[in-house]
Amino acid sequence: MKSTWKLALGLASAITASTAVSNAAHAEDLTLCWAAWDPANALVELSKDFTKQTGIGMKFEFVPWTNYADRFLNELNSHGKLCDLIIGDSQWIGGAAENGHYVKLNDFFDKEKISMDDFVPATVVGYSEWPKNTPNYWALPAMGDVVGWTYRKDWFSRPELQKEFKEKYGWELGPPKTYDQLLQIAEFFQKRQIDGKTVYGASIYTERGSEGITMGVTNVLYDFGFDYQNPNKAYDMQGFVNSPEAAKGLEFYKKLYDCCTPPGSSNVYMGESADAFKSGQVALHMNFAFTWPGLYKDEKVGGDKIGFFTNPAGPKGHFAQLGGQGISVVSYSDKQEAALKYIKWFANKDVQAKWWSLGGYSCLNAVVNDPKFPASQPYASTFLESMAIVKDFWAEPSYATLLQAMQKRVHDYVVADKGTAQEALDSLVKDWTQVFQDDGKM
């Protein structure tokens, strides 16, 4: 009987002790919040090295893109403690900084000798700085991303199609350099029979609910002369947002949508666009660069069948819409010290090199400027070229309101045939003016 009691006591002590040890271990676990997509899986893989080195476990909270902003902005606004680290969208930076959601990283960077000069300048401005172009850092550039294009290399290289195209348009069928060329290629493939299947010209962003059509149309608008504001006078938008040149850019996007997209393309964003390409429906495909590794690996359309090109140049410039995110420490986290350890580890050159090799897009100069980088992946040089010409949407604290206004005005014109391009942009100026007036900035 005595021995039974001893055994029971021993077991109870063992269970208590093991629970305490496991709680102690879990207490240090970090939770990283991000979108549910391919690079997130690469980050899970990469983070195993961090756990090995530091003993700090990593947990992940990944949310699909459609709910990503709603979910995590709600979390931040409610001062939630779910996320210790967050990879937040570039446009959140203003709001997150001004509302105190992110920890300011300047002192930490100074202490750990992490220099922002070591990162691609566009990503530092886009993902880390608020106010823009000032040395106030709220994130470490984590995932470079930019809108670019893929095309069906195998279709483009068919001699009969090349011949027909040359006869019709007078130039060799290949990746377009201008918007006229892009439109001609899209028209050429629209409703064409290839291998007994009807295919279409291009898949472009048209999504209404979150940010889709804005992330698509801005690529064209920038190149036609659209600007967010007067470079010499902040928030002066008249004649910059709604210049006649910008209206022409918007007209072009509508023309491309009307003539050359697959049926039912009125609500297309990253997932739908990639699906259209993967299913062999389209010759050209607009999407963020993060989709390229997955598409290149795709058995049906990847490998030799796929090619990549940067957003074409327009009459007033050559730009591409910036995507991507920086990694930040959430100011409501109780584990800020451990979270900063993760950032320090993530900024390391070897870690960044591995990040790229696993499918993440590193923003570290040492990685992307490596002479071997352009040849490291078939899409690497297109990514580099694209990152050199990026421009981003407003990153103001009111970015969501500004974005919704643009979504509405542009979608109304491009997809719903409402009014003219000039009227759409004029209305946009009114909407944005109201937002900035409400914010007391005008």
Binding site: G95, R208, P263, G264, S266, H411, D417
Partner: protein
Amino acid sequence: MLDRTADNVARATPEPLARRIRGISDKGLAWLFISPTILLLLAINIFPLFWAIYLSFTNYRANRPNEAVKNLGLANYRRILGDQDIWIAMQTTAHFVFWTILLQTVIGFTLAWLIDRKFRGHAFWTTIILVPMMLSPAVVGNFWRFLYEPQIGLFAYVVAFFTGIAPTHVQMLSNVELAPWAIIIVDTWMWTPYVMLICLAGLRSIPEYIYEAAEVDRASNWRQFWSITLPMALPFIMLAVLFRGIENFKMFDMVNLLTGGGPGSTTEVASITLKRQAFESWRTGYSSAFAIILFVAVFGLANIYVKALNKVKQR
């Protein structure tokens, strides 16, 4: 003997003491039982309503809790009532409410009338007709989205079969003209059974002897329908219209799942605009004012309608 003693003791006990002995009065007990419900109601219905009324006069934004809240007076209300986009959303809502109610009432009543004939297997068909109503709106929205898909959707192929139009041209959710009807079709498909059930209850409440008397008077079937069936079922039909009207005025799920308000703003009903202002643009004060306006509109219209319903019932 024992009962009589207790009775005597009770009578001899002074009233305040008796109250203490008995504990709580019936009224007190009733309050005790309903107080959790009342507290819950106050916490999740009444307080938010008054809080929303308060916020509607301010510039409060839920995503900037640290910012000072400014009293704007009636500015939010003025801006909403002068906003052309809001009026367009209200028109879209009215269009949607009108057509869904009309179709659901006509089809629902017809189905109820047919089911009331009590033909062989009518119970089985009643169950089959009720199935759409039992499904979750999320499921209905998603599978209709696939059905409407122009390249693979069954709906496009059925239309193509009957009209000869190429299926890829039947773009129910992308076409500005067709998108509102796509939602009306789905809502009618889902909620007609509900209207049918209410109408069926109305039809079954008509006493048989009235029809027998009409038969004796040699009234035709048509005459019986117009003079007996329809007037006696009218309060039920009106009730169904009231329920569906209130529901469809605040319709959100189906529109959000099928079109998200698009293409453009073609199907942007008031609730979608409200959601965008409240949870995407984070204009909490502004959206509270809009919610109050919608609430007053629905409440006012419903009251007028209930008065009309009571008049019909009294006839």
